[in-house]
């Protein structure tokens, strides 16, 4: 089993599914697509025991194959605690999205293309999450865009064409700059160290990017990532795209694709350009805070609930960016946790919004009221998702936001406070949406008053259930997510923190340099870190470490 | 004679030909202007060949002559063809394709 190229399988199973979905007729194609996405999910989940132990290094599990060696291009996939759950998320949301597309498959327009593109999108995103050769990453990055463009444009609302082209132009503008930065990174590394041109992340990390160019290179990468994450002021595409896209597609676009941007920051920018990131972190944090607050306010006054959710989504992505650029363990871990949580929640919210729109035919908030009397289960599900979205402690989003804000606060009190402030408008706009739709009085004569009264059907329940389960489960035990990323995140943070040994810091942060071996297909294990059972008496150390922590933060 | 003298005559002829293409709208005259340019170049070739003691120039002139003849054939055929279909040969009338 160790020789089985599981990472490649994870990437290419959706492609297989796409091919089948294109060939097979309606429901057979749907079944095939669902099967493929389930297999993909199973494969992704199988990785958890291998990488979820908390002791695997960054880029621990690798698959490597030369591609265009002269140009430093290789087919290299890597998995570790950072992308582990993002892969799972993508696989899960693909299942959800395919599952939610049953109606299209049964009686919708162009079902084969629809399912094919959806799986193609999933394929691209798995690739983005797994690729660690910069070229390969870029390939997948753009491959992901094609089905997204077609899905929005072919199956979207009345303004779909404009929305799709806007989406593509925004994202391409960013990614083309990233392309330049990718090449420049390879060139700078090879010319500084007089080595062969390579774009393997591991090799680049081992060599190190020269400090003087890091800022510029970072900006190149950041352009692509920030656009994808809808960071203020590069968000122009988001609201239009989200409000035009069919919800099952949005599950993938908002749920997963938006994460690729923030993932890119963690995977590439932070380890590769520590100096650049360090010098520009305040700007990124400022933008993140601006995103958070600005989009929260926009969500507060949105008239249409799809746009509202779009703003909600990017406002929360701002939190993730904020956490990442806190550049400490809590911030980054919180950001990654939040990537997962955000994916789950936003997918659930969009599914719910879609269910509401399907029943009422409108998305104007003013048209709504008292739907809960007709749709109690929908209201319940909506409530849970909304509560999670507004960061209710005890549900999944809280854990990630908490860590992200905590990290931010430790690196900068001002940004921490400003970022945390979002919890107030978050509660406001989510309740405005929830209560506006579900509670109060139905406006007379509106579309809602005469809406169909059927509550959630089985076909709508099934995609939502796993999401709800995760919303609750990950709220109770967020450690499931953070444990595997301790080591890799520690290694990232080690380039930012002074090498102070600390009993509570991950070993990678001890100034110990880890050498990444992308070539061997193996999982690198170090000595087991002592398990962290916390007992009351052990807490006696806490204060001492707290002081160190303070010193570290102050420095 | 200096080679420059021939070259300057050649340059003048070439320029006149080039300007001729620009200012005349009769394709035949434009065509003649192009011939003029080719011949100007031929003069340069011959001068260089002479002063360089190199046969390449001669050969080149010979080729240019052939090419010019071939171009004349094709060009005149196209012009005649156009004349046949529209009984006008003003180049400025050929503006269906633009923008």
């Amino acid at each position: 089993m160790t020789n089985f190229p599981v990472l490649s399988a994870i990437v290419f199973v959706p492609l297989l599914g796409a091919v089948g979905a294109l060939i097979l007729p309606r429901l057979a194609g749907w079944g095939w697509a669902l099967l493929a996405s389930l297999v993909d999910l199973a494969l992704a989940l199988l990785l958890i025991p291998r990488l979820g132990t908390g002791t695997t290094h960054m880029l621990a599990l690798n698959e490597h194959m030369p591609w265009l060696p002269d140009a430093g291009i290789s087919y290299t996939l890597s998995a570790d605690g950072i992308n582990l759950f993002l892969i799972c998320l993508n696989a899960l949301l693909t299942v959800v999205a395919v599952g939610a597309s049953f109606g299209v498959a049964r009686s919708g327009d162009r079902p084969r293309q629809y399912l094919m593109l959806m799986l193609l999108l999933s394929f691209g995103m798995q690739g983005v999450f797994l690729a660690t050769n910069l070229f390969l990453f870029y390939v997948f990055w753009e491959v992901m865009l094609v089905p997204a463009y077609l899905l929005v444009g072919m199956f979207g609302g009345p303004q779909r064409g404009i929305a799709a082209i806007k989406f593509v132009l925004y994202t391409t503008a960013g990614s083309l700059l990233m392309l330049v930065a990718i090449i420049a990174t390879g060139i700078e590394v090879s010319s500084t160290h007089h080595t062969a041109f390579t774009l393997d992340l591991a090799a680049l990390l081992n060599a190190g990017v020269p400090g003087n160019v890091q800022t510029v290179l970072f900006l190149g990468f950041a352009a692509a990532f920030a656009v994808k994450a809808g960071l203020f002021p590069l968000h122009g595409w988001v609201a239009d795209t989200y409000s035009e896209t069919p919800v099952a597609v949005l599950v993938l676009i908002a749920g997963v694709m938006a994460k690729t941007g923030v993932y890119g920051f963690v995977r590439f920018c932070l380890p590769l350009f520590p100096q650049g990131v360090h010098s520009l972190a305040p700007i990124m944090e400022t933008l993140a805070v601006a995103s958070i607050i600005y989009f929260a306010l926009e969500a507060l006054v949105a008239l249409d609930f799809m746009r509202l959710l779009a703003y909600v989504s990017i406002s929360h992505l701002g939190v993730i960016v904020l956490g990442i650029f806190a550049l400490n363990t809590q911030g980054i871990e919180g950001a990654i946790v939040q990537m997962i949580n955000h994916g789950i929640i936003i997918a659930a919210l969009f599914l719910i919004a879609g269910a509401i729109e399907a029943r009422t035919g409108t998305r104007r908030l003013a048209d709504f009221g008292a739907l809960a009397t007709k749709l109690p289960w929908l209201a319940t599900v909506f409530m849970i998702a909304a509560l999670s979205a507004l960061g209710l402690p005890g549900l999944n989003s809280f854990a990630g936001e908490f860590l992200a804000f905590l990290g931010t606060f430790q690196s900068s009190i001002v940004f921490g406070v400003l970022g945390t402030l979002v919890v107030i408008p978050a509660a406001w706009y989510m309740l405005r949406f929830f209560q506006g739709a579900m509670e109060g009085v139905t406006p007379e004569g509106g579309a809602v008053a005469s809406a169909r009264v059927a509550d959630l059907r089985v076909g709508e329940w099934l995609p939502l259930l796993p999401l709800l389960a995760l919303i609750i489960f990950l709220g109770i035990v967020p450690n499931t997510l953070t444990a595997p990323m301790q080591q890799p995140v520690g290694e990232i943070v080690s380039s930012y923190a002074p090498a102070t040994p600390s009993a509570f810091e991950a070993p990678g942060a001890n100034g110990h340099v880890h050498v990444y071996h992308p070539i061997q297909v193996q999982t690198i294990q170090t000595q087991t870190i002592q398990t962290r059972h916390i007992y009351v008496l052990q807490m006696t150390n806490a204060l001492a470490s707290g002081e160190r922590e303070q010193a570290r933060v102050g420095a | 004679m200096q080679v420059s003298a021939y070259l300057i005559v050649s340059a003048l002829l070439f320029t006149i030909g080039a300007v001729g293409v620009l200012v005349r709208r009769n394709p035949l005259v434009m065509f003649m202007s192009i011939e003029l340019m080719l011949n100007a170049v031929n003069l340069s070739f011959m001068a260089f060949a002479h002063f360089l003691n190199s046969v390449d120039g001669w050969m080149f002139v010979f080729l240019v002559l052939t090419v010019a003849a071939a171009e004349v054939v094709v060009g005149l055929a196209i012009i005649v063809s156009i004349f046949r279909s529209r009984h006008e040969i003003d180049v400025d009338d050929l503006t269906m394709l633009k923008g």
Binding site: G236, W428, L431, Q435, I534, L543, E547, V553 | -
Partner: protein, 657 residues
């Protein structure tokens, strides 16, 4: 000692889950059984915990259960831990005990509501969250419970979700509470920053406990004031203290049992609990304590003044709750942490009682809450009347009811603080406290007289389920008004008894509760000792203030036709409008934020971003069309372009070398 806390939490959670998922199809009896049963079981467990705790030495009354690690991130480890210590034991008793009584009461009160199962489900959720809040062993789990009770409160205020006023009230409550959460979050961040942990054990254990095995808080520590004030932001939001009090009166839109349980007995006291829990942090910052005291005093006074003019009976009680909570904070600010908790317990009894009794009245009158339309119900509802009076007397701190002891303890602590060098400000606070006590007696008996005395002023009351009585009929309008059933009456009686006797475990002479809480709260101020010269003065002042207020109320309202109507007195108008604070917030916060949002939507989002990208598109399109006009179609123009290019190249090469 045993630590059954996990089960205390688990039981109501199970109840919530079961009722929430399948409650719709369960029969009413099963719903009542499950809903009340789990809380009763939890109460029993809490009692067992409590007594087993009594069995061990005070220093050993700490037991931490850590089922799993909630999250570990870098140097921060946060377990899902449950701490059983004297403070949490007391709180759990109150939460489950009073909670159980209110569950039972609800069986009667909510009878016939279509959302019966939902109601009990939410109540169980509340009990779970509140239990988690008080049993958490670290600030983060406290925050989880904190958010949970906020949610339950939101759900229950908005229980009748088709009433726009209830929906708005629920949202307001939630959003204001989130402001508190924000404060708590920031406090947590600061605590992590300073200490690297969120566990109570190293934080709250005071130097006084030196000699035990537990570590102690270093004094002074950085950011003490900031942490304390941020914690107090949370406490103020939850406990409806100035300036975050605006949600509580509106929260009375919820069913009355909710008001009794959440907005009187338990949830709103979470702030008091939090301050007591973090007493070590507050003690480290005199500044923060002073601010807490000022806010507490101001709230106590202001809420009492508003309560004097309200006509909605539940709102009167709501303002009363705010006022009483203000007392508790005042006392805690003076260092009387255990006194605060003591008052919390007695307040739970009598305020729950008052709300229940008010609920009984409302229930009897078919939902009427305006006391201008009441009066003369004494005859119809005698048991309710007497229970109401007991509650009122306790609230007015009439000797020797429980309220007297606990309120006296708080005021006494304030006086002690003033005397031992707290500064003149504390004397002012003490005076405010005394004056508020008079107001307290006044407004609660204004309420009682308004409801039960004088002539009935309202319309005819329909029988439950019957059509409204015909107008102009000769029948007694109160013919259908009956005393409530046993399910509602029994809990009231129990609480009535508790209100009467509940104060004897905290008298100045034998402050049992203070000693019990000592290992946790490290109360520095237990009030003026009986030996002190001022003791008797204070005691007497405490004795008379309540009755003075009652007497004034008697004078004004114990008549056949009391005037509750409009007044031209500007002070009264100011009070009737609650100092215009809601309006102020609307004008200063809500409207600007929403306007900014709208302005951005139109100006930035629609104008700059949308217009910008479209403009860029048009620009490119325009340039494109402009350039294409160069493509004239004239071959001679094209030749010209070639020649221009050639000439430029030539000129470049000729002049360049």
């Amino acid at each position: 000692m045993v630590n059954l806390t996990p089960f205390i939490l688990l039981l109501p959670l199970v109840g919530f889950a079961v009722l929430g998922l399948v409650g719709r199809v369960l029969p009413r009896a099963a719903i009542s059984l499950i809903g009340c049963g789990v809380v009763l079981a939890a109460f029993v467990l809490a009692v067992i915990d409590f007594f087993s705790m009594l069995g061990v030495a005070p220093e050993a009354r700490f037991s931490d259960v850590l089922p799993w690690t909630w999250v570990t991130s870098g140097s921060v480890t946060i377990p899902f831990g449950l701490l059983s210590d004297p403070l949490s034991a007391v709180m759990l008793l109150i939460v489950t005990g009073v909670g159980f009584l209110i569950h039972v009461y609800s069986i009667g009160y909510m009878e016939g509501d279509p959302g019966y199962w939902r109601f009990f489900s939410f109540l169980n959720l509340f009990i779970f969250a509140m239990a988690l809040l008080v049993a958490a062993d670290n600030f983060l789990m406290l925050l989880v419970g904190w958010g949970g009770v906020g949610l339950a409160s939101f759900l229950l205020i908005g229980f009748w979700y088709t009433r726009p006023s209830a929906v708005a009230a629920a949202r307001k409550a939630f959003v204001v509470n989130v402001i508190g959460d924000f404060g708590l979050l920031l406090a947590i961040f600061l605590i992590v920053k300073d200490f690297g942990t969120l566990q109570y054990i190293p934080l709250i254990v005071h130097p006084a406990s030196a000699g035990t095995a537990l570590p102690s808080l270093p004094l002074p520590f950085p950011d003490a004031t900031a942490i304390a004030l941020l914690l107090f932001v949370a406490a103020a939001a939850k406990s409806a203290q100035l300036p975050l009090h605006v949600w509580l009166p509106d929260a009375m839109e919820g069913p009355t049992p909710v008001s009794a349980l959440i907005h009187a007995a338990t949830m709103v006291t979470a702030g008091v609990y939090l301050v007591a829990r973090a007493s070590a942090i507050f003690t480290a910052s005199p500044t923060a304590l002073a601010i807490v005291g000022i806010i507490g005093g101001a709230t106590a006074f202001m809420a009492a003044t508003i309560a004097c003019v309200q006509t909605d009976i539940k709102r009167v009680l709501a303002y009363s709750t705010m006022s009483q909570l203000g007392y508790m904070f005042m006392g805690e600010a003076a260092g009387g942490f255990s006194g605060g908790i003591f008052h919390l317990t007695t307040h739970a009894y009598f305020k729950a009682l008052l709300f229940m009794a008010a609920g009984a009245v409302i229930h009897a009158l078919g939902g009427e809450q305006d006391m201008r339309k009441m009066g003369g119900l004494r005859g119809r509802l005698p048991q309710t009347f007497w229970l109401f009076v007991i509650g009122g007397l306790t609230l007015a701190a009439v000797f020797p009811l429980s309220g007297f002891w606990s309120k006296d303890g708080l005021l006494s602590a304030v006086l002690e603080k003033a005397q031992t060098g707290g500064g003149t400000g504390w004397y002012v606070l003490y005076a405010v406290g005394l004056f508020t006590a008079i107001l307290t007696g006044f407004y609660i008996f204004r309420l009682i007289f308004g409801i039960f005395f004088g002539r009935y002023r309202g319309g005819a009351i329909a029988a439950h389920g019957a059509a409204p009585a015909k107008r102009g009929g000769t029948r007694d309008p109160l013919a259908n008004v009956h005393e409530v059933g046993a399910a509602m009456m029994v809990p009231m009686v129990v609480l009535g008894i508790l209100s009467v006797i509940g104060g004897f475990y905290g008298t100045p002479w034998s402050d049992w509760i203070g000693q019990f809480l000592e290992p946790v709260t490290h109360t520095t101020n237990t009030g003026i000792a009986p030996g002190n010269g001022l003791f008797w003065l204070a005691f007497v002042l405490g004795l008379v203030t309540g009755p003075i207020g009652i007497a004034i109320a008697w004078a004004r309202y114990a008549q056949r036709e009391p005037r509750f109507g409009a007044s031209r007195n500007p002070l009264v108008i100011l009070l009737q409008h609650k100092y215009y604070i809601d309006e102020l917030y609307d004008a200063v916060i809500v409207v600007p934020i929403v306007s900014l949002g709208v302005f951005w939507r139109i100006g930035l989002e629609g104008g700059f971003f949308e217009g910008g990208s479209l403009g860029l598109g048009h620009l490119v399109g325009g340039i494109s069309r402009g350039l294409r006009r160069l493509q004239t179609g004239y071959a001679r123009n094209y030749a010209l372009a070639i020649l221009v290019g050639a000439a430029l190249l030539l000129v470049y090469y000729v002049i360049h070398p």
